[in-house]
Amino acid sequence: MTLSRLATFALAFAALASAALPGPAHAAAASSAGATASASATDTLQVPRIAYRQRKLANGLTVLSVESHGSPTVSVQVWYHVGGADDPEGKSGFAHLFEHIMFKGSKHMKSEQFDRLTEDVGGENNASTTEDVTAYQAVVPSNHLETLLWAEAERLANLRVDEANFHSERAVVQEEYRQRILASPYGLFFETVSTRPYLRHPYRRGVIGSIENLDAASVTDVVAFHDTYYRPDNATLIVTGDFEPRQLDAWVDKYFGPIARPQAPMPPRQTAEPAWTADRTITVKAPNVPLPAVATVWLAPPVTDADAPALQVAAALLSAGESSRLNQALVYRQQIATQASFSTDLRAGPGLLIASAIAAGGKSPAAVRSALLAEVKRLASRPASRAELDKVKTLLLTAAFSTRQTPLGLAAAIGDAAVLGGNPERVNTDLDDLRRVSAADVQRVLRRYVTGAHSVALDYLAEGSTQ
């Protein structure tokens, strides 16, 4: 689950979006993982290699950059290898709360001054926290690049927060919890799906935490968390867009170079998740469930595993686009579900494969699950055609093109590869790997991780429901 400092306009105006006017967000709903095609029809759709520059400062900071001059803007992003899985015990939600606090002032910046340096000059900023990483993502007119580099270095080196700012921002995050989890009709469902199946891994705690766990956090925790994780050797700076490479290097050296690398090693993350040795079921009843929802969840290998690309292609065959198998079978032909999906929630550690659906009116959760699993099994037992494989690879490729049109999207793709994937070159090789996936690969990984593995079945029902 990804949480952001700022709601997107779409979230704030979900109501208006439901007025049936399609927006660009609907185009290619597939994951941004990106792909190119196999030998036939998709040969003309090679995504050009991203020629990034890589530097490593003496203090351990990794710097990645791509120059492009399509518009006079530049994206400056700092990704830290810390996330919800690193929350202090009993303080779930802390890494995400901390991300918000990073905007509340430093030794030489007032609270919200970061917004003065971005939004007020025609740029924008946001930040997001997942289980594994925290990313700070700004876009500014390119003549403000030096200022932004100064500001990112400043809050890495000199974060300060006072009690009043801490408490007001914690209240904001608690409202974010209420908006996402309590007010949104399926918020609690998706939060439960991505956390409760874990037996022991810290992923079990989720990213947003709870009102009580957030109440338990203090300014002292902020100090300790910053000391522990916000250090140059745990950070990756990414700059894309309209800049001069030599000028960039000089500014990076000037502002980030003097930040010392702490002596203490990074604390290890508790990462063990025992093998799932039996099927389990979880039933959640909530006050605001317009239609029942079901999910079946399996453990996935880490995002860096060689099987990850085949799982992503399997997910695309099942649920990318209106012509996908789950949509055609459950929503169109059987009319048993209002929506159905199969997603690969791949993480640094063990991730999740999630088949889920929201029932159509009057349909039972058991019937919906049965239809959902039947389609997954069908793909595991019979190979997809060449044309169908080509289709999903073209969809994934076009989505990658779309994402990489802007400095923001390009830098985010590099950040994902470098920080979550552990190697920036993955921004190029991941697409090659997807192109090579065969129908047999798809069947093999589904048999290994899905049909041949234990699962957790989750039912999400209205309170008082007897189903």
């Binding site: 109501a15 007025a19 200022t147 209420r178 686009g321 779309s402």
Partner: protein
């Protein structure tokens, strides 16, 4: 606050390393230049607008028909939306699944839908696939079959989707606010239909609306991205050149522009006892806007609720922690627009945030915006626009916004200068003229017990409707206590 500042804690062990204590100033700006799109009208009256953008081999193709939900007849809310939605669900040549598979094999998703003043079909594909994609756009726009089985299927799906929307307090408040503002007129109903209206829609209604409104002389084809004007027009001619209006059918006249509903309640609460938050929307109908006045309204909107640092966000989120997100926007209704400020908050905070919203609107009417605040909000607005046109889909949408509000696509090029020219007096004058208390309408969806009492003191005429009883099909649905 001062005491708290004394308690400030030094966080990083590495603090002393950073010795640069003021931000370096920006360098000289490098201005963004946006080319004016090229426009040509085909012999059948279809306007073709091509907006080239280099860099990535992608093109967004968007066919916009210049009418939409404002033509929904009384009792048939959602007709334009269902008509547009069904375009992709079957043509004389292909079934719905075949159309989806063909589009997705090209790498894009064929979207169709309707809103205020517009119905559209769009797709984004890589350049070599543009011709095939335009073939699909033309096929679904010109030859849809509206098969009864498909109508039934989409109707069921839409009814289920409404169940989900109606469980969301933000959505409920927004739909209710539009009804409060516009009453029973053509512009106040839910564009996506209601549980009462959708079952009334028949195949003949869809066919008749399509025949009357999908015609080349009331449509615009937008091509944005990796495409030149000459090739764009040639492709348009190849796929749309033979398109003609249905014989013997006149294009329907647009309804009168929306105006504030006379009489009726000004504040409504939709009681949702299970809601985890309250959704709050303050709406204000704005009259038709043009030229400098439109820019003044946009800047006013940016000062009040555009972006994180707007006044509403400062007061509600930053100072008081009362909401995760508070935004405003002006949703076009033809040349008119509905201003809406929206947020969600815990039920108990509802009356407090309502006071804050009202006070901020009062303030912008009473005092000019300070020069530095105005400058930063204008830059923020300009920056948002500049980033929108960085993608092919965003560029196409920006042109769509112009043509559906009867503006020239050439305004793409002058948009930044028009915003830059807005001064504090322009904003205050617009606010004073159009943001008075008489035009404000307030809709709140949430657990009424927890805030109705406090609100009643401020708004004695408020109505409370239990969500299951709310009928958005009629303005009268909001008139019972």
């Amino acid at each position: 606050m001062k005491l708290a500042a004394l308690l400030t804690l030094l966080v990083a062990a590495t603090a002393s390393a950073q010795t640069f204590d003021t931000p370096p100033p920006p360098a000289a700006p490098r201005p963004l230049t946006i080319a004016a799109p090229v426009e040509q009208v085909l012999a059948n009256g279809l306007r073709v607008i091509v907006a080239p953008r280099d860099g990535v081999p992608l093109v967004t193709a968007m066919l916009v028909v210049l009418s939409g939900s404002e033509l929904d007849p009384p009792q048939l809310s959602g007709l334009a939306s269902m008509t547009a939605g069904l375009l992709t669900q079957g043509t004389r040549r292909r079934t719905g699944p075949e159309i989806a598979a063909a589009a997705e094999a090209l790498g894009g998703t064929l979207d169709s839908g309707a809103g205020w003043g517009q119905s559209l079909v769009s797709i984004t594909v890589t350049t070599p696939r543009l011709g095939a994609a335009l073939g699909l756009v033309a096929e679904v726009a010109r030859e849809p079959t509206f098969a009864p089985a498909e109508l039934d299927r989409l109707r069921k799906q839409t009814l289920d989707a409404l169940k989900v929307s109606y469980a969301d307090p933000g959505t409920m408040a927004s739909l209710t606010a539009a009804r409060l503002a516009y009453g029973s007129g053509a512009w106040g109903h839910p564009a996506s239909g209601t549980p009462a209206s959708l079952p009334r829609i028949r195949q003949a209604d869809l066919v008749a609306l399509h025949r009357a409104t999908f015609r080349p002389d009331r449509a615009v084809l937008i091509l944005a991205g990796d495409i030149g004007a000459e090739r764009g027009v040639a492709l348009a001619n190849a796929h749309f050149g033979s398109w003609a209006p249905a014989a013997g059918v006149a294009a329907p006249l647009p309804p009168a522009p929306p105006t504030l509903a006379p009489g009726g309640p000004t504040v409504a609460i939709v009681d949702m006892p299970a809601a985890g938050q309250a959704g709050v929307v303050l709406a204000l109908p704005l009259p038709p806007r043009q030229g400098a006045e439109r820019a003044a309204a946009d800047v006013l909107d940016a000062v009040l609720g555009g972006g994180y640092s707007s006044r509403l966000s400062q007061e509600v989120r930053i100072k008081r922690g009362l909401s995760y997100a508070v935004y405003s926007r002006i949703e076009p209704r033809g040349k008119s627009g509905l201003f809406q400020a929206a947020l969600q908050t815990k039920n108990e905070s509802t009356a407090e945030v309502v006071s804050l919203l009202q006070a901020e609107i009062d303030r912008i009417m009473q005092a000019p915006v300070a020069a530095d605040e105005l400058a930063s909000r204008k830059l923020s607005l300009i920056g948002g626009f500049s980033r929108t046109v960085e993608t092919t889909a965003g560029l196409a949408s920006a042109i769509r916004s112009l043509v559906t509000t009867e503006r020239s696509p050439a305004e793409l090029k002058t948009r930044i200068a028009t915003i830059e020219a807005v001064g504090p007096a322009d904003v205050q004058r617009y606010a004073a003229a159009h943001f008075g208390a008489a035009g404000r309408r307030l809709a709140i969806a949430g657990v009424a017990d927890r805030f109705a009492g406090a609100l009643r003191a401020e708004a004695p005429g408020l109505v409370v409707v239990a969500q299951p009883q709310l009928d958005l099909e009629r303005a009268e649905g909001l008139r019972r206590e």
